[in-house]
Amino acid sequence: MPFWACVAGTLMIACERRNTAMPEHFGYGRPATEKEIAAKAIAIHPDGKGLPAGSGTVQDGALIYAAKCAACHGATGVEGPYNILVAPDTIDAPPFDQAPKRVKAIGNYWPYATTIFDYVRRAMPFNAPGSLSDNEVYSITAWLLHANKLIDANAVINAKTLPAVVMPARKYYVTDNRKGGEGPYE
């Protein structure tokens, strides 16, 4: 191979490398500000991280629930027509895997109380999502927990008390064990 071809080839390989290698950063996008992160990061962690200031009571929750939730979920949370919210855990209930018709609701199926606050605040009421104040969400959460026999009628729900509510279903949760392959079906 003539010398010039060798040089040209080496140069081409070098150019190729420079043109196709992924840079460490492209530099696209703009930095997110603390303020916009605080405004948008609304998710609540199961340990309560992310819960806002404020609080709610079962009594206030009853009034808000009747006005803004009962039309879809029923006067006491069991009538529907949409998702049934109230089903206290009972010792004599058949296990879910043997009872296809057993109602799954907050009291017997939800593993974390924090999920109620997170979901109600982001998605409810269905016809006006995101319209409730933090205190209203705390109060509705308190009413739902009480209706599911998880807290007393005089309990106050806030960033400290909500993650401490013991949810009976939590002990039943297991992580996916399916792996594919020729083994037994899971």
């Binding site: 997110a32 296990p95 895997d97 296809p100 020729e182 079906y185």
Partner: protein
């Protein structure tokens, strides 16, 4: 069905029009005109001239089947591996949001070195990748209890597209992921502000932020202007209209990954984070409401697996007693609908035909009783049983309902 066909035939040649196109009048002006359903002799009449958008033939009417929360793809009306974009199944939790692409933003923050906001234009500047894969809802089995159900009714919550976008790993590198981050939250900008927690490992493996579907911008129903795409995983995790990704050291336990998209399994347990879609197949022809004639029949259908490629599809024409390999249509892709065919001679006797998929992990698609035996009758999501079609002596093809016990 036959009555409907007759009425349609009666309309042919009449004034009925199914599509409107623009054509140039004799004065050179663009005017709208309809495509007639059929000319008496198409060789004796000039047809509509080129137009700005194509249309389906006025003789073809594939339609999704909508409910309040979802719409199903008409699998029995399709011939290949790609689902036409306007027939892609839908499942949303608070309707389809209207999002202006010019104000769209995706924020990635949490356990990252550089919390960053990307515009749609930013996302499109990154190196792009296209891949063909299915998206299937994990609730894609409706326990049908009657004969007159179609493939669309049984498992129409699966569809396939070519998706184009940026690898999530590219964005992860861009923002610098804290090595201690193990999960991320994906949040949509629909009215449910829907969220799921996803292991970071899936983000490095093959997750994408996609903005194009079958060569054009994603349809609003599929997440316009951008969505998460997690190949092979239950559809709910491919969060549409994605607006925010928050890196964290654990799952957030959102409503959709606790009270929904979890399934009761043996001993009263509740199985969570069941991400991968197991291998499945369905015969889409002959299936209800097809009418068979004696003689050669090409059995056709789709097979797929969330764990990799479909290795084999087997067909039984004797109610599951014996099985033979079907031909797979190339290309057979990773985590993708694969079209299969099997030539068979129907002699006019009653027959039960069925298909089963075997994926590259060696997993064999189970029958319903095997799933119930493994999980209990109260189980729910991730049901992928073998589906049987019954051919009656008169050639009528119906679903063969199975007892849920």
């Amino acid at each position: 069905m036959s009555q409907k066909m007759t009425r349609r035939r009666l309309l042919l040649g009449g004034a009925a029009t199914a599509a409107v196109v623009l054509v140039k009048s004799s004065f050179g002006k663009m005017v709208q005109t309809g495509i007639p359903e059929a000319a008496i002799d198409p060789t004796k009449q000039v047809g509509p001239l080129p137009g700005v958008l194509g249309t389906r033939s006025p003789f073809e009417h594939p339609q999704r089947k909508p409910s309040l929360t979802s719409s199903q793809t008409p699998l029995q009306d399709l011939y290949g591996m790609i689902t036409p974009s306007d027939l892609h199944f839908e499942r949303h939790h608070a309707g389809v949001p209207a999002i202006d692409p010019n104000s769209y933003e995706l924020m990635i923050h949490g356990m990252v070195d550089r919390p960053t906001v990307f515009s749609l234009a930013d996302l499109k500047r990154f190196p792009s990748v296209s891949r063909i894969c299915f998206i299937e809802c994990s609730g894609n089995f409706r326990k049908p209890d009657k004969e007159n159900v179609t493939p669309q009714d049984i498992c129409g919550l699966t569809s396939q597209s070519e998706w184009t976008g940026v690898m999530l790993s590219t964005l992860f590198r861009e923002v610098g992921i804290n090595p201690k981050a193990t999960w991320f939250l994906a949040e949509g900008s629909d009215a449910a502000v829907m969220t799921r927690s996803i292991p970071v490992s899936k983000g490095w493996e093959d997750a994408m932020i996609v903005y194009a579907q079958n060569g054009e911008a994603i349809r609003p129903q599929q997440g316009y202007p951008a969505r998460l795409l997690l190949p092979g995983w239950e559809g709910n995790t491919s969060v549409k209209w994605i607006r925010r990704i928050e890196l964290s050291d654990g799952p957030f336990m959102t409503r959709e990954e606790t009270s929904k998209y979890t399934e009761p399994v043996k001993d009263g347990k509740i199985r969570q984070f069941s991400f991968t879609m197991d291998a499945r197949s369905i015969i889409t022809y002959p299936a209800y409401p097809a009418q068979l004639q004696k003689g050669w029949v090409e059995i056709r259908g789709l097979a797929w697996s969330g764990r990799g490629k479909v290795q084999k599809v087997e067909i039984s024409t004797d109610a599951g007693k014996t099985w033979n390999a079907a031909r797979l249509q190339e290309p057979v892709l990773d985590k993708a609908h694969t079209y299969f065919r099997y030539l068979w001679q129907w002699n006019g006797d009653t027959a039960a035909i069925m298909s089963r998929a075997i994926d590259e992990t060696g997993y064999v698609q189970p029958v319903l009783q095997e799933l119930i035996a493994a999980r209990g009758i109260g189980t729910g999501y991730h049901l992928n049983p073998v589906t049987a079609w019954l051919i009656k002596r008169d050639g009528q093809v119906v679903y063969s309902p199975e007892k849920w016990k």
